[in-house]
Structure formats: C-alpha cells, structure tokens
C-alpha cells in the first residue's frame, strides 16, 4: 500500500552542520494497518510523515502508494487521498469560518471549487449527524466561528473533517499532544473509532507511550532515522508499557537525554 524505499535524507547538506537523518530507510505499510510511531525528538518521525505527504523531499530513494511512485508528485496533489491531523489544533480548521462552513469545505474535498454555493443546504442534516458523533454538542453550534471553540473541540472537528471524504491514508501527527489528558483521551477514542469504522490505513506519531501500546495494530519505535523496534500482531498485543519505556530510556541515555 505505502512503501518507502531506500530513503536518504540529509539536513544542511554540504555545511559543517550536515546531519544525516535517514540512510537507506525502508518502511512498508499494509492496507488497513493502524501504526503507532514513537521515538525521541529528532528521531525522524515527523520528517517521515512530511516525506510521505510531500512537504519534505527525500535526497534519495522513492515513495510508493499502491505501487505508484509518488516521489515527484506535488504536496497538494498527494492530499487527494491523504488526510492529516496536526499537533496544533488550529492547523486543521479555519478559525474565522463557522463550523458549517468548515464542514462544507471538508465535504467538498476532491470536488471542483467552482462558483456553486459553498454550503449545500441538503447536506446540513448529514453534517449535524456527523458532528453529533463527537458528543461535544457542536451540532447545535453550526453558525459559531471555529476560532471560538476550545483546542479539544477544534481537534475533534479537524479529525472529523479530515476523514469525511474517502482516503487512502490518515496521518496523525502528535494530534493529541496539545490537549489536556481528558480531551486527549476523547480524541484518541474518536480516532480509533473513525479508523476502524472507515477501515482506514493510519500512521500515528505520538509521544504518549500508553496510546502507542493500547491503540493500533503495529508499533514502531524510531531512533536516529531507524526503526529500532517494529512489533506487529501478537507481539504487539503482548508487549507492555514497561518494556517500551525501558527501551525508550536506553536510547535516551545513548543520546544524552537521561536525567
């Protein structure tokens, strides 16, 4: 489904600050997999997501989706079949537009943005129903500007919006990191529901080890541009948070991040 093949990525190439992040990095994601990716800062998690989405170009290697090489495809084109939720709740919604207008924008993804009415009135009830799944009462606030919602509400809306149209992939970039623990839990449960109900292939980067252990059916730990742990199926079921934490401490000491 998704394949990263022999990826090299350097930062500040040709300067004294040159840093090699990925050297011959490979990753294969199967259709319907829900992968949790953990790793310390600078381990390459976000760079990997950015290379998949196209905002960062690899220096060598290629990226395939459904067997098609997309390495040269422009970023916005790739989003035709990719949905993404960001760490910052304000990235996934338009603050000065109302909830209804935001839902309409997301609903029109993949269609032509022409001179038809931006909001299709016949769809309003469908939007209300979708919003009611969030259990945040947003269905009664259709004409409220998104900028006045809380971070957690916005993030739930962003999650809903990014999964409204058919997708190949859902990219979750530390999407619960900016939320309080309770709100983060709600958003995580919603994520799980959307991914499973729609049968999405999802890659979730998180700093929350508990989420990584509890959710998803594959767990990858990244360190210095390598997947140093890759657990699937039963292995993933059996692994406990303590084991992950031990491994995590090990790599942290290696890079001098221990206490």
């Amino acid at each position: 489904m998704l394949e990263l093949r022999n990826i090299d990525k350097y930062y500040n190439l040709g300067t004294i600050n040159e840093m090699c992040l990925f050297k011959n990095f490979n990753l294969k994601v199967e259709k319907g997999e829900f992968i949790a990716v953990i790793g310390s800062n600078g381990s390459g998690k976000t760079s990997m997501l950015n290379m998949i989405c196209g905002s960062v170009q690899p220096d060598a290697g290629s990226i395939y989706i459904n067997g098609k090489d997309i390495t040269k495809v422009k970023e916005y084109k790739r989003y035709e079949t990719i949905g993404r939720v960001y760490q910052d709740p304000s990235m996934g919604t338009c603050p000065s537009m109302t909830i209804l207008e935001n839902m309409s924008l997301a609903d029109n993804k993949g269609k032509s943005f022409n001179l038809r009415f931006g909001t299709n009135r016949k769809r309003i009830n469908a939007y209300k129903e979708l919003l009611s799944q969030l259990n945040l009462g947003l269905e009664d606030k259709l004409h409220v500007k998104v900028g006045s919602l809380s971070g957690g509400q916005r993030q739930a809306l962003a999650l809903l919006m990014s999964t409204m149209t058919p997708l190949d992939f859902l990219i979750l970039d530390e999407h619960t990191a900016a939320l309080d623990p309770k709100t983060a839990d709600i958003n995580m449960m919603l994520t799980q529901r959307f991914v499973r109900e729609k049968g999405l292939t999802a890659i979730m980067v998180t700093h929350n080890l508990r989420y990584a252990v509890e959710y998803g059916d594959r767990l990858i730990m990244m360190h210095q541009g390598k997947a140093i742990m890759d657990l699937k199926g039963e292995e993933k079921q059996k692994v406990g948070i303590d084991h992950i934490l031990d491994k995590f401490n090990e790599i942290s000491i290696e890079v001098g991040n221990d206490l």
């Binding site: 949905g83 207008e101 029109n108 931006g118 909001t119």
Partner: protein, 292 residues
C-alpha cells in the same frame, strides 16, 4: 453644505469599491498588497484612453476591471511562482505599473472634457431630470458600488470563495483539501485589483481626467477604510464585513473633507490622509497584529 455632502458620498463610494479590493488582500488573504497604488491609476488610464477613442463608457467598467485583474495576477505569479516575498512582489508590480500607465495614457495628464462618460450621456441625462439632477452622479456611483459589493458577497459564499477565505485563514488546510494554495492567492489578488481598477475607472470619469499621480496613497485610503469600517461594526454580527468597509470608506472621506473644511489646504491632502490613518491605527490598536 449640501454639495459638500454629495461630494463626500460620491468620492467615498468610489473609494469604497477600491476598499473592497483592499479588504480582500488585507483582511481575507493577509497579503500586504501595494499593487493597488498602481492598479487604481491603471483603471483610470485605460478608461481615459478608451473614452478618448470613443469606446462606450460602460464598456470601460469591464475593461478596466480586467486590466486591474491582470496586474493582480502579475503580483500573484511573482509571489507564488518565483517565491518573492509578498510585499516585495507587490512593490515590483506597482513600480512597473507607473511606467505602464504612462505608456497607456501617452502622457501624465489626460483630461476628458467633451467626451461621454457613464455619468454624462444622452440616456442618463434623459433619466435624471428636474429635482434628482444634482444627485445623478451620486446615484450612478451608488449603483456601481452596490453591484460590486453584492457580487463580492455572492462570490464569498461560493465554493471558490470559501477556499479564498480559507487560504488567508490557514494555508495548510487548503493544501490538505488537495488544492494549490498559490492558485487561490492569485485568484484573490486578481479579484482585489480588479475592484481597485474599477474604482479608478469610475474616479477618472467622475473627476473627468486621468492623472499619473492619482494612485499615490490609494493603499492607505483603502486600509484606513477597511480598519475604520470593520472596527466600528466589530461587535455587530448582523452587518456584513463588506458593508462595514463601504461605510468605513465614506466615513474616512468625510474626515478628510472635514479637515480641509477646517482650513487645511488641498495640497495637504496626502498629509491628512496618512495622519488620519495613523490616528485610526493607534485608536483601534490594529497595528499590533501586523508588527512582527
């Protein structure tokens, strides 16, 4: 006094058309677009030349708008395709337009004395007779401004309009919707400068001449109108932003007229324009958002 008020309303509504364009770039796109200082006289230059050549004055409204839109596209392409900073790309086009306007008009000053305009022709003279005659110009400007405003309102609730509002709000989401955010910006700049040139076209016909320096300070007038309007009606959600911009432009023109009435000389116009703008910025605290 009566003629003073009509004068303010006439000029205020002409500037309102231009301010709607500035509203698009400044408020919706968050793009500091100085192109307007060039596209305003561009609209006027195109109009003056076409009218001299005997083209129907109503046709000039569309042709001038189109010319302005092209200048907006130029700024957009320089910014988006060649990755020049937004302010710089607009300055490049503004500067180039100075010479282009001179080329179009042929000279720095082009008076339109005997020619027909959208205000002075046999049809309009026939319609406006008797008591409403003194308000002829004002009513015609009102119609043009209203049509411009309503068309913009209508556009902003289309899918394309939604995308335009989204791109200034949060560029990332436009990319996430699989749309080229650069293209959306170019469309926005085209519409904005189209409106600005339309305003220049009406201005040229109202004052019956084109002058190469008539664009100086357009940006400041537009910004002041947008800021006054949107701040006055900030807490009134019933009033559309475009309506408040139109009212803001008329109020601003009124303030400038009052300053001249109070004894300032007409040569102090630009000084008054910028001082008033500064006062408005300080009073509304709008400057904070822009200082980075």
């Amino acid at each position: 006094m009566g003629s003073l008020i009509t004068g303010v309303l006439e000029q205020g509504m002409i500037y309102a058309i231009m301010s709607l364009g500035v509203y698009i770039t400044y408020r919706i796109l968050d793009f500091p677009d100085l192109t307007v200082d060039g596209s305003f006289p561009l609209g006027a230059a195109v109009t003056a030349v076409l009218i001299m050549k005997g083209v129907n004055p109503y046709a000039t409204l569309f042709i001038a708008t189109l010319a302005g839109a092209i200048s907006g596209v130029a700024t957009g392409v320089i910014h988006v395709k060649f990755k020049v900073r937004d302010l710089l790309s607009s300055i490049i086009v503004m500067t180039a337009l100075y010479s282009i306007n001179l080329r179009i008009a042929g000279k720095a000053n082009l008076p339109l004395f005997g020619e027909e305009t959208i205000f002075k022709n046999s049809v309009m003279d026939g319609i406006f007779q008797g008591g409403i005659k003194p308000y002829k110009t004002m009513i015609i400007i009102l119609v043009v401004a209203l049509v411009g405003k309503l068309l913009l309102d209508a556009y902003l609730i289309t899918r394309s309009g939604y995308l335009l509002r989204a791109v200034g709000d949060n560029e990332t989401i436009v990319t996430s919707l699989a749309k080229d955010s650069g293209k959306v910006k170019i469309v926005g700049l085209a519409i904005a400068n189209g409106l600005v040139a339309l305003s220049g076209c009406v201005m040229c016909q109202q004052q019956r001449f084109f002058d190469i320096s008539m664009g100086t300070g357009t940006m400041v007038i537009g910004l002041a109108s947008v800021i006054i309007g949107t701040n006055i009606f900030k807490n009134v959600s019933k009033i559309k932003a475009t309506t408040s911009v139109v009212i803001g432009a008329i109020l601003y023109k009124g303030c400038v007229a009052a300053a001249i009435e109070l004894g300032m000389s007409a040569t102090d116009m630009k000084l008054i324009t910028s001082t008033l703008f500064l006062i408005i910025l300080i009073a509304t605290m709008d400057r904070k958002k822009k200082v980075k």
